[in-house]
């Protein structure tokens, strides 16, 4: 990919700023298989909005697309700071794209410092093309001008194809504050670069600014057109990524929006939450739309109140959801145990972030699998699902509500910040009434009906809901008997714990084995869960193209585990878990088989199947790259 770019405008690096020269002839349109673009800026300059819009337009064009948000940790980091890069990565492809890819081919940067942040993080492909805002070159502060020139020369010396563009100057005739408008100008530029249909781009701009005034929409459309025209007249490269518009309607949303849509589709009525990054945007969107279908988003005073509020609503007959991230999840643990003990259905969404403690709020990690499965004191069996795609975020919530009510259990849905902010098109869901909860049963129950009539084989109960005549009883987080009465009887206590545990086995018997990606047998099987799926499967595809006998499987349920995993693993010489959580590195001097801490899934699979499963993980806070996993595969098979 990079070679292509260089070939098109390889000589331009030496051109003098500030404006890229008018090409002598229209450039030939080069067909690409895929391309990774980043738009980066200071916070508040709209690079994220530009990137998301570009992704949505690409999806409308019929391209495969995956977008990744680049988010600084602070709301307003200092301007022009290396750590302050805010923006979006968009990977476009001719086929389905399921991750953010390896290196960047084309960068648009609004200042050289945020760009430096990305260069130092190793995110750019060698020699990649950079469209760089050049107003800094003539800045009145000599230090800024010097820093810019120095960085510019350094980047050119490193072989990057830097094209200086006076974005703000070009936007000034159109908007009074070009700092806030140039993002849509850039969107226009990129639409020309990728030969996108401007009609779709205009539609997308109107959608993006749907909550704003007509004047705002008009000026953003003008910026879009101006950018497109400027690129057409001034850039000497133009690409086309073949696109096939899907036959079925597709929806383009990020994982958090998909979760909120899942809440809508599940028929749940109450979402109790407390703000926490990176989960909150799901509740933002839900707050915007939920009341229209009679739903309520309750922002509670804290995470514990959010969880217990949801439990209260569920107890009263309306299965509720609480949406949170790691630190909030930790706070909810006692309440989750209460719901387990009282057998109250509850859906808990944990959009994982880097931990422990406050960790990395805006960065992703798969660190909460074990706390989701084993968390809360005592034996507190609950169902844990992991969404692995944006589409999965939607359906997992719908499924979670159904399981929660059918089994009277807590169902935890794990997502992470990688899924939360990434966009990927998926087939538009077709509404099914079966997704919704049945109306609350208010019929009289026969005298003598017990609230905890634990089935001896399945552990299941028939829940009695407040309002049902003759069903009055008190539930308690204390050990209790079939009537719900406090009981410290040793026999009853064991019966109750057995029944609550059996429900997991009952659910497990209804699950299907996970599919295998690649051949059913070979030298290496990679097992993953959650958002790493796209990167793992791409790495497997690339490794298989090199002739390596590697396959992968991805678990949708972490508790209970799907059947058939043992049989799948048995057909491979080696099994390796790839996860975005910590595992001790065998090459570290002190680490040996007596003390190595395994990654979460590896630990669970090892203990269940007694197979010597290895693991590899990365906790950099960035999505694991397919190229990185490919290197791991090569090393393990060699």
């Amino acid at each position: 990919m990079n070679e292509t770019l260089t070939a098109v405008h390889g000589d331009d690096a030496t051109l003098e700023p500030p404006v890229a020269p008018r090409p002598k002839a229209k450039p030939a349109v080069v067909t690409l298989d895929e391309c990774v673009v980043e738009i980066i800026s200071d916070s508040g300059e709209g690079a994220q909005r530009c990137g998301q819009s570009l992704g949505a337009i690409a999806a409308r064009m019929g391209n495969g697309v995956w977008t990744v948000e680049i988010i600084p940790a602070e709301i307003q980091p200092p301007a022009r700071s290396i750590a302050g890069a805010s923006g979006n990565r968009i990977r476009l492809g001719a086929n389905r794209i399921a991750n953010g890819g390896d290196g960047v081919d084309l960068v648009v940067a609004f200042n050289e410092q945020v760009l430096l942040g990305r260069v130092r993080a190793g995110e750019l492909k060698p020699g990649c093309t950079i469209l760089l805002e050049c107003m800094w070159r003539t800045h009145s502060d000599p230090r800024i001008a010097a820093a810019y020139r120095e960085t510019y020369e350094d980047l050119v010396a490193q072989g990057y194809q830097v094209i200086e563009v006076p974005f703000e100057a070009l936007c000034k005739p159109i908007v009074p504050d070009p700092r806030r408008g140039k993002n849509m100008f850039v969107l226009g530029v990129l639409c020309t670069v990728f030969s996108f249909d401007l009609k779709l781009a205009r539609e997308q701009v109107r959608l993006t600014f749907r909550k704003k005034s007509d004047a705002v929409v008009r000026s953003n459309l003008a910026l879009l057109e101006a950018g497109a025209a400027w690129a057409d007249a001034n850039l000497d490269f133009k690409y086309r990524i073949p696109a096939v518009r899907a036959k079925e309607p597709q929806i383009v949303v990020n994982g958090n929006t998909a979760i909120a849509l899942g809440v809508l589709a599940s028929g749940m009525e109450i979402c109790a939450m407390y703000p926490i990054t990176p989960a909150t945007s799901a509740s933002h969107y839900l707050s915007e739309v939920f009341e229209r279908v009679g739903g309520i988003v309750h922002q509670a005073e804290d995470e514990i109140a959010a969880c217990t509020f949801a439990i209260g609503a569920s107890y009263a007959g309306k299965c509720a959801v609480t949406i949170t991230s790691g630190p909030g999840y930790s706070l909810k643990q006692e309440a989750i145990g209460l719901a387990v003990m009282c057998e109250i259905p509850l859906v808990v969404v944990n959009v994982q972030r880097g931990g422990p403690s406050t960790g990395q709020p805006t960065k992703g990690e798969q660190g909460d699998a074990l706390t989701a499965i084993y968390g809360s004191h005592g034996d507190a069996p609950k169902v844990v699902m992991a969404a692995s795609t944006i589409e999965d975020c939607f359906y997992s919530v719908v499924t979670a509500r159904k399981i929660a009510e059918a089994f009277n259990m807590v169902v935890v849905v794990l997502s992470d910040s990688n899924l939360a902010t990434s966009q990927q098109p998926f087939p538009r869901p077709r509404f099914d009434e079966a997704w919704l909860a049945a109306p609350i049963d208010q019929s009289a129950v026969p005298f003598g009906t017990k609230p905890y009539d634990w089935n001896k084989d399945t552990g299941l109960i028939h829940r009695i809901v407040p309002g049902q005549p003759n069903g009055m009883h008190t539930i308690t987080g204390l050990a209790h008997d079939r009537d719900g009465r406090v009981a410290y009887d040793p026999v009853i206590n064991e019966e109750a714990i057995r029944a609550r545990s059996l429900k997991l086995a009952t659910l497990q018997k209804t699950l299907k084995p996970p599919p295998v990606f690649g051949d059913p047998d070979g030298d290496l099987l990679i097992v993953g869960w959650g958002s790493t799926r796209g990167a793992i499967e791409e790495a497997v595809t690339r490794a298989r193209a090199e002739g390596l006998k590697v396959s992968s499987t991805h678990l949708h349920f972490l508790q209970p585990m799907q059947p058939g995993i043992k049989e799948i693993m048995a057909r491979f010489r080696r099994v390796l878990c790839v996860e975005a959580n910590w595992c001790d590195r065998p090459e570290d001097k002190l680490i040996d088989e007596n003390n190595r801490r395994f990654s979460a899934l590896a630990m669970m699979l090892r203990s269940r199947y007694l197979v010597d499963i290895d693991c590899w993980g990365e906790v950099k806070g960035q999505p694991i790259k397919p190229g990185t996993i490919l290197d791991v595969i090569r090393a393990r098979i060699a």
Binding site: R60, G62, R245, A246, K247, E248, P249, Q250, I251, V252, T257, L261, L264, G267, E269, I270, A272, V289, E291, R292, V293, G294, I296, H298, A300, E301, D302, A305, T308, F309, A310, I311, G312, A313, S314, Y315, A316, K318, A320, E334, A335, L338, C342, R428, P429, F431, E433, L436, P466, G467, P469, N470, G471, M472, H473, T474, T476, G477, R485, V486
Partner: protein, 329 residues
Amino acid sequence: MSMPMHECLLQMVEEAHSLEDYQSGVPRWCSGCGDNAVLAAVQRLCRDENLRPEKLAFVSGIGCASRFPHYMRTYGFHGIHGRALPIAEGVKMARPDLHVFVNTGDGDCCSIGAAHWLHAIRYNMNMTVVLHDNHVYGLTKKQVSPTSPKGLRSNTTPHGSYLDAMNPLTVTLGVTNVSFVAQAVDWIPEVVHAVIKAAFHHQGFSFVRIIQRCPEFLPKMWEPWLHDPQKTLLLEHPDGIGYSAGLQKIYKNRQSHDPSDIHRAREIASSIDPVPVGILFRDESVPCYEDIREAGKPRPIEMIKAGLEAELDKFTVWPDADEPARSAV
């Protein structure tokens, strides 16, 4: 003539509830514990109001008082320490048709659950909240509580507790949206019943503090008040509660207090000697959170479907052929 009358009577008997209809099990509280007085008053209220037991939900946290729901033959939720209020809020939000009661102790409400207490006042959801305040942790065997008198020798303060007691009434009266505050003492059952009844009929978050004796760990604390009726102040007002002639004979220390006067309510609430009983504050005009949020609105399937489809439309990329169909929608 006699047959219809007989049938009519039968029906009345069936519909009228007796105290036994609300009683469940034998309370395990110590004899002399104030919780017994509250239980008797609440059961009497349910019978007098002829409330349908299946429409009642008693929610509690953890502590001696939080065993309360187990002794009611209604729906009950004995939850976790400090969290009775948010659980009750969830119940009420999901089911505004239920009568929700909360039983919470001074540790449960004023210590571990203090944040929820403040916000529950602000939400002003229609529920009756009884603070069983015996000024000490009982279930965990005598530790100091936020409402313990300064100097209390407890298992965690063997040399005497260090801080002045928190006053739950003034705290409650200081929070935005406060709508009902009353107080009673467990040794005057008539007032316990009267304030809980007034609380039940108030539309909003009705906060009733019952000053209770703990016969096990703080048996002497209120003895001077029991021996000297002048140390109890009955609050009187046409908008307050009434007192029987018998009671008025004993308790001569009475004062008129208009429950709509929040400033005076805060002054009265600050007093411990005499201890005020009756209704301190009531404001029926504060909106209830569940009404603001339109809880319990019917949600026909068509409504949910249409809402979801409209949202999906926003994010849909249509195949070319479907474009006209979409604009027609």
